[in-house]
Symmetry: D2
Subunit: 290 residues, 4 copies
């Protein structure tokens, strides 16, 4: 749903001091920025303030290319502040990585096609040909780089992928059941901008075959977890989780089937929050604005 | 809710062969045992049959003290069967172990007092005096054995506890947030008859302070797990689990509060299933009849 | 997932009498029908037995076209039994009715394309052109009959639709957010074979705009309900329901968005159960085998 | 959990205008009121601001008995504001009304006794003697007024109850499965200060025997709803709801049992929010601060 009036979104995080909120809202109001969203959260354990504020650019006195500089000069130093500025009319550009399973990919593309998300998806990348027909259905370029069994071409593949991501000006990546480890180099290029779906209730059942692990352990509930990818496997900041009840009648096969619905919904909820610029990360945790 | 007509309950487990169900139902019917409940489940992965069958004793030809012998002679060998016989008018005798927190204890005793469970609770055992007032409110004997910091009296305490359990003819034990490790000896005396509540979604956050672990990991959902106690910590067969959604606003303190309701409900659901003789265990998993 | 060995599935319902299960399993076994699934449920309130039994046809002595006759002759009269026979290699033929929203349609077609369901979808029917592009993506014929505002062509449209359903040998219909009332005539042609998704937790918020009704009432949870269509609006036997938590921050618009995921999952779960022949209906309620 | 430093809590609601939050926080800060909690919510549909702000009284310049007057003079008129002031060291005084079922009563009293709530419970009122033993266990006065079958003494009973509530300075009432209609007069005396638990997912199954209604309708999920009592039966502002999944195997009796746990948890969550002064009501809906 495209917005009529472009807005700027400021996401910030800093030690909690009195006056910050007043200072920033005053700055925006004084410069004719009509605030359309404001939400903040104070982590009392660590005395940190997290804030999301959004205002209309139409009559805002400061030109958009200068906003970041002004925030930096006026507030960042004084308040020891980390911040990011986004503009509602600059569509995020999302790349999807897939392997062989189609359920998450279809869910992402169906939302995209229905206009649920204000983004572009310029490419789908895979290590297998299997899902090319899905990309074709939606007229999205599909690139395959298969990795040799001895991983001898891993660097080469990574370079080709990175080149494509750069060429397509990709701003964030979604791993839609992509069954390969992402390299540190790619993670470094997209810090907290790669979203993975893991098919378990993390931190339970890290790594391979979580549904089989769940079956062996005899749990009564299974889950799925979407998180930002970091260097440590399945250990990045969690964005969203959900669960479904199972019974002793479930086998690894039925868990896989039941899990599919969880995976696609949990992944898409995380993607939505990311696109809406409603996620801040701190100490390997996420603050999710509503 | 006490039943008018005493019934016998047969719980069995054996390799799945054709004819078992027919044989047993025929045996009961031929001997005037009116079947009031029958449910079975076949684990197709391991080709095992699990069955629960309950019949009225009123006109049953075989005297109750002979039933086990008959089942053993007629079926156990032929079908390689494990089985247990229970009688509805022999009330389970439950001991509760507690430390300092009252929420699970109150929940158990409120159900007991309201007549929700057809059991006796002859004693409450603790390592602290803190909850004596609750036991007093419900007129249940409360025994305290505190364990020295150097654990020097551990054997002595265990012996005293085991003596009491024996004297009171305890048939199963409920650990209602009892913050002590149960010894192998006691576990051996009550195999799959000690029910614990762990305040996490197992196998995530095994061991101490799971809510703090959950907070640190930044999960979006917390859980509670009731399970039978085995020699390995928090690794016994899971009976019941449930979860509740949390947010970044939750601190370890609010997690503890939110978790309390989960813990007591999940523990009591497990106790209900155990009392109703609706749980079979197999390969560290549970089959739960409905 | 297509089965290698064709099977027959018998779904039956009758007053509960001793011997039925034995009789039927004996009949199948005596005639070399290898039973691969058996589940039954006794409704003790009404003393009714519900049963689902599935056996391999490969060595079954009775030819498949005679099975129904044999069951009828041998058991139906004696036990006052309603029953249906299905064959696993006779694929259900499903028609989808849609209006303007794509989320349920995509979810159905993505599963179909991924081979999750052993069915054929020969046609999609609509009162609007809007979703033709989705049908085109999946190469499924898309038929549009728009109904005049004065409903003057209603009979004509119905006839055309019924002709198509007949021509395509449709065995069941899925209303994937189809915003038109189904006529009594069509319901009569597909009794308990038309599955609807209603975007509320029935019986709350029957009729139009349930999310707006939910917003006005200030509920804290919204739901979706899939059910068989009967002559009374939104009152047919419920197959599946699910819910999601909301807050005071939700507006009718965000409820619509949150509801979409519920709707598609709840609808697809119902379709799965229907395809697997695991639903029996009785007294406006469903028995759902697992 | 009693707070060391007394605080004042301001709950307000007014049309959303720029400057309100700044004005109020400035007023508090200027007068040495250390703010320990601030949360606000803007209803964009109706352009209304809802706010909860809490500050320490220790060094606050304005004496507590004058605070309300100051807020009224300085802000209420200018901003067309409804507001309430509470003090953390003025314990709410809660009366409990019960009939015959003990589960909600035990849950409330167990929390009270464990110090989970900073309140007093001076009395329990009933129309039956049944639960006197519970009140006795917790040493709380228990009053019984039974209403004649012809309701001839209804006025008299109400007067006696109202006198007691007044004498005991009751600030809010909890109906813990109290099976009587509350009179308009009592509702008028405690507007949005009487909390009821209804044993269904409102607005489904209003009125008597909701579990039986749920069984007849064949729903797959049951719920419980806590709400403020208003003159219209089961139609007041909803505070909290929760649900539990059921199956065709459930009978009205098992629904009653499953519902009990829902009821007590949902009621206690609502009571917690009320005691914490985190509920605002608007247009028959609630705003619940976290």
């Amino acid at each position: 749903m495209e917005q009529k009036n472009p807005t700027a979104i400021l996401l910030l995080c800093c030690p909690d001091k009195q006056g910050i909120i007043t200072d920033i809202t005053k700055f925006l109001t004084d410069n004719s920025g009509n605030i359309v969203y404001i939400d903040q959260y104070v982590d009392n354990v660590d005395s940190m303030l997290f804030m999301r504020i959004e205002w209309e650019l139409a009559k805002f006195v400061i030109p958009r290319e200068k906003i970041s500089e002004y925030i930096h000069t006026l507030f960042a130093g004084r308040y020891d502040m980390d911040f990011n500025i986004y503009f509602s009319d600059e569509k995020p550009r999302m790349a999807i990585f897939v392997s062989k399973m189609s359920h998450c990919l279809y869910d992402l593309l169906a939302r995209y096609k229905a206009g649920e998300w204000n983004i572009n998806i310029p490419c789908i990348i895979s290590n297998h040909e299997n899902l090319r027909y899905v990309a074709d259905q939606f007229n999205i370029p599909y690139y395959v780089w298969s990795i040799n069994k001895d991983h001898s071409n891993k660097d080469e593949v990574e370079k080709a992928e990175m080149d494509l991501l750069k060429k397509e000006k990709i701003t964030f990546i979604v791993l839609a059941r992509y069954m390969q480890i992402i390299t540190d180099k790619m993670i470094a290029a997209y810090p907290h901008h790669i979203i993975n779906i893991h098919h378990s209730f993390l931190p339970a059942f890290i790594g391979a075959k979580p549904y089989h692990q769940a079956y062996e352990r005899g749990v009564k509930i299974i889950g799925a977890t979407s998180h930002y990818v970091t260097n440590e496997l399945d250990a990045g900041p969690i964005i969203e989780q959900d669960v479904v009840r199972i019974t002793h009648k479930d086998t690894p096969d039925t868990l896989v089937l039941k899990g599919r619905d969880l995976e696609k919904i949990v992944l898409s909820r995380a993607v939505t929050k990311h696109i809406e610029r409603k996620i801040l990360t701190y100490k390997n945790r996420t603050v999710i604005f509503s």
